[in-house]
Amino acid sequence: MDILLQQIINGLVLGSMYALIALGYTMVYGIIQLINFAHGEVLMVGALTSWSCIGLMQEAMPYLPGWLMLLIAAIIACVVAASLNFVIEKVAYRPLRNSPRLAPLITAIGVSILLQTLAMIIWKPNYKAYPTLLSSTPYEIGTAVITPTQILVLVVTAIALATLMYLVNYTRLGRAMRATAENPRVAALMGVKPDMVISATFIIGAVLAAIAGIMYASNYGTAHHTMGFLPGLKAFTAAVFGGIGNLAGAVVGGLLLGLIESIGSGYIGDLTGGVLGSQYTDIFAFIVLIIILTLRPSGLLGERVADRA
C-alpha cells in the first residue's frame, strides 16, 4: 500500500511533465496537422539554457536565494525556447504549408537532429549535474515521501494549465486559435491572421516545453543533449492517447500515462515473478497506446478525427 501511494505521487509528477509537453504537440497538431518532431529538442534547449544561466549566476551572484535563481533562469530559458520555436516554424515549416504531408515531417526530423547536434557542439556531449536549488528535505505523507521539487512541479503545472485554459477559452487570441484550428480559411475570412496565430501557438508550446524541461532536469538532477527525445516521444504518445488536437485530452493523457508508467514499473517485477523487470518501463507507454488506439482509434477524448488524416 505504501508503495502504491509513492508510485502515485511519482506518477503524477511525471505525468504533469508529460502533460505540459503534450500540450505543445497537440496545439500545433490541432492547427496545422503537423507532428512537430523538434518539440522534444526545444525542451532540451530550455533545460540546458537554464543550466547555463544558473551556472553563471552561481559564479557571479552566489548570495541570491535558490528559488530566485531558478525563476530568473526559467524566464531566460522560456524566452530562448520561444524565439527558437518561432524561428523554426518560420524557416522550416511555413514554406511547406501547402506541400505534400510528409515534407514538413521530414524537415521537422531534420530540425530535431540539427538542434541535437548543435546542442552537442555548444554544451559538449557529457551529462551535466543539474544543481539542486531548493531544499531537498522530503515531506512525509503517511508512508510516502514527496520532495519540494516535486511539489513545485505539481504547482507550476497547475498554474500553467490554468493560464493556458484561460488564454485559449477567454481571450481574443484563444478564440482566434480555436477558429483557425476549426477551419483556417474561414477564420482568415473573419479577419484572423493565420500566420500570426500559428506563430503564437509555437511560442506558447515552446514556453510550456521549456518549463517542462527545467522541471525534468531539476527533478532528475541531470541534463544533456539527448534528454528531449524520450520525454518528447512519450508526450506525443500522451497527446495521441488523449485524442490529438484536444487540450484537455493532452492533460488527461499525460497524467494517465505518467501514472501507468510509474505504477506499472513498480509492480511488474512482482506480477511476473521477476521475469520482467523495471527496465521494461518504456514499453508500457507504447503497449497502452496500441491497446487504446485499437479499441478507440481517436483517443480517449478525441472527436472522430482519424478519418481526416
Binding site: R101, I106, V240, I283
Partner: protein
C-alpha cells in the same frame, strides 16, 4: 533511340560491376561504404512499398531489419549452443544454418511480424499509424536489449558476435579470393552479393508496381473508400503491403548480420527508422529511381564526408569531429532539400493525387 537505351543499360551495368574494383584500389573502407549503401537501397525499397505505394507511414521499419539480423545471428552463431546445453547435443558442430534456408526463413519471419503489426493498426491512419509503428519499433529494440535474462536469448546490449559469414556453394565470402590473378577482397564479394539482391528487389518492385496488387495499393493510397467501393479488399491489401515491405527488411537484416559478423540492439535505434523514411521521402515517394537515389545519397555521402572531414576537425580543436559534422550535414540536407523540392529529389512524373494534398 532504342539502341541508345540499351547502350546506357550496358554501360551502367559495367559501371556497377567495376565500381568496387576501383574503390578497392583506394582501400576496403570505401567498398564497405558501397556495401552499406546497397543494403540501405534494399531497405528503402522495402519501405517504399509500405509508405510510397500503400501510403501507410511506418516509423518502425527498422524492427523488421532487426528481426532479420537477429534471426541470422541466432541461427548461425555459437550463441545458442553456449546458452542451452540441449543444443550442443543436437548440433555437435554448432549451429550453422545454410544461407539458402536463412534467407527464406528471415523473409517469412519478418513478413509474419509485419502482418502481426498490421493487424491491430489497420483502422488507424496517418499520424496515429506513424506513432504506433514507432512504438512497435521501440518495443522490439527494448526486448532485444533486455532478453538476456532470465533466459539469455539475445545477449542483451552486448549483442551477438561470431556470426558465420555467407557461404555460397562452399565459396566463403569472408576470405580473400584470387580470380584470374586478381586479388578480390571479402568486402568486394559482398558487394556483388548485395548487388544481385538489390537488382532482384528492383525487379520485384517494378513488377509489383504494375501488377494488380500494386494498382490496388495505389488506389487505397489515393482514396480508401473509393478503393473499397471498387471491390478491393482493403484489409488484406494493407496486410500484404506490411508483409511484403517487412520481408525485404528481413532479408536486408540477415545480410547485415552476416556482413558485420556481429549484431547488437544499438544498430536498430529509432534514428535508423527515421533515416530510412527520410531516404524514401527525400528521393521521391513511390518512385523507384528516386528512392534509390535518396538511399545512396543519405547513406554514402555522410560516410564519404567522414573521410574528408579530418582537416576540419584539427581546425576546430576536435570540437567538430567527423561524426558530429556528419549529423549536422544530414540534418541540413534534410531541411534544405525538402524546402527546395517538397516532393523529393526525383519524384514520380505521374499525378499522385493524395501525396500532393494537404491533410
Amino acid at each position: 533511340m532504342k539502341n541508345n537505351k540499351t547502350l546506357h543499360w550496358i554501360l551502367g551495368g559495367i559501371g556497377l560491376l567495376v565500381l568496387p574494383l576501383i574503390l578497392q584500389y583506394f582501400g576496403n573502407a570505401w567498398v564497405r561504404i558501397a556495401d552499406l549503401a546497397l543494403l540501405y537501397v534494399m531497405l528503402a525499397l522495402g519501405l517504399n512499398i509500405v509508405v510510397g505505394y500503400a501510403g501507410l507511414l511506418d516509423l518502425g521499419y527498422v524492427a523488421f531489419y532487426a528481426v532479420g539480423a537477429y534471426m541470422f545471428a541466432l541461427m548461425a552463431s555459437p550463441h545458442l549452443a553456449e546458452t542451452f546445453e540441449g543444443f550442443v547435443a543436437m548440433f555437435p558442430n554448432g549451429l550453422h544454418t545454410s544461407i539458402w534456408l536463412v534467407i527464406p526463413l528471415g523473409m517469412l519471419l519478418a513478413a509474419c511480424t509485419g502482418v502481426l503489426l498490421g493487424l491491430p493498426v489497420l483502422r488507424l491512419r496517418g499520424d496515429y499509424l506513424a506513432i504506433v509503428t514507432l512504438g512497435f519499433g521501440e518495443i522490439i529494440r527494448i526486448f532485444l536489449n533486455n532478453l538476456d535474462q532470465p533466459v539469455n536469448i539475445t545477449n542483451g546490449p552486448k549483442g551477438i558476435g561470431q556470426i558465420d559469414s555467407v557461404k555460397i556453394f562452399g565459396f566463403d565470402l569472408a576470405k580473400r579470393h584470387e580470380i584470374f590473378g586478381y586479388d578480390i577482397a571479402s568486402v568486394t564479394l559482398y558487394y556483388y552479393l548485395f548487388l544481385v539482391l538489390v537488382l532482384a528487389t528492383i525487379v520485384i518492385c517494378y513488377r509489383l508496381q504494375d501488377s494488380r496488387i500494386g494498382r490496388a495499393w495505389m488506389a487505397i493510397r489515393e482514396d480508401e473508400i473509393a478503393a473499397k467501393a471498387m471491390g478491393i479488399n482493403v484489409r488484406n491489401m494493407k496486410l500484404l503491403a506490411f508483409g511484403m515491405g517487412a520481408s525485404f527488411g528481413g532479408v536486408a537484416g540477415s545480410m547485415f548480420g552476416a556482413f558485420q559478423g556481429f549484431v547488437s540492439p544499438e544498430s536498430f535505434s529509432l534514428m535508423e527508422s527515421v533515416m530510412i523514411v527520410a531516404m524514401v521521402v527525400l528521393g521521391g515517394l513511390g518512385h523507384i529511381p528516386g528512392v534509390i537515389l535518396g538511399a545512396v545519397l543519405l547513406s554514402a555521402l555522410p560516410e564519404v564526408l567522414r573521410y574528408v572531414a579530418g582537416p576540419l576537425q584539427q581546425m576546430t580543436d576536435g570540437r567538430l569531429d567527423a561524426s558530429i559534422l556528419r549529423q549536422l550535414l544530414i540534418a541540413l540536407a534534410m531541411i534544405v532539400i525538402m524546402l527546395m523540392r517538397p516532393r523529393g529529389l526525383w519524384p514520380t512524373p505521374e499525378h499522385a493525387k493524395s501525396l500532393d494534398r494537404q491533410s
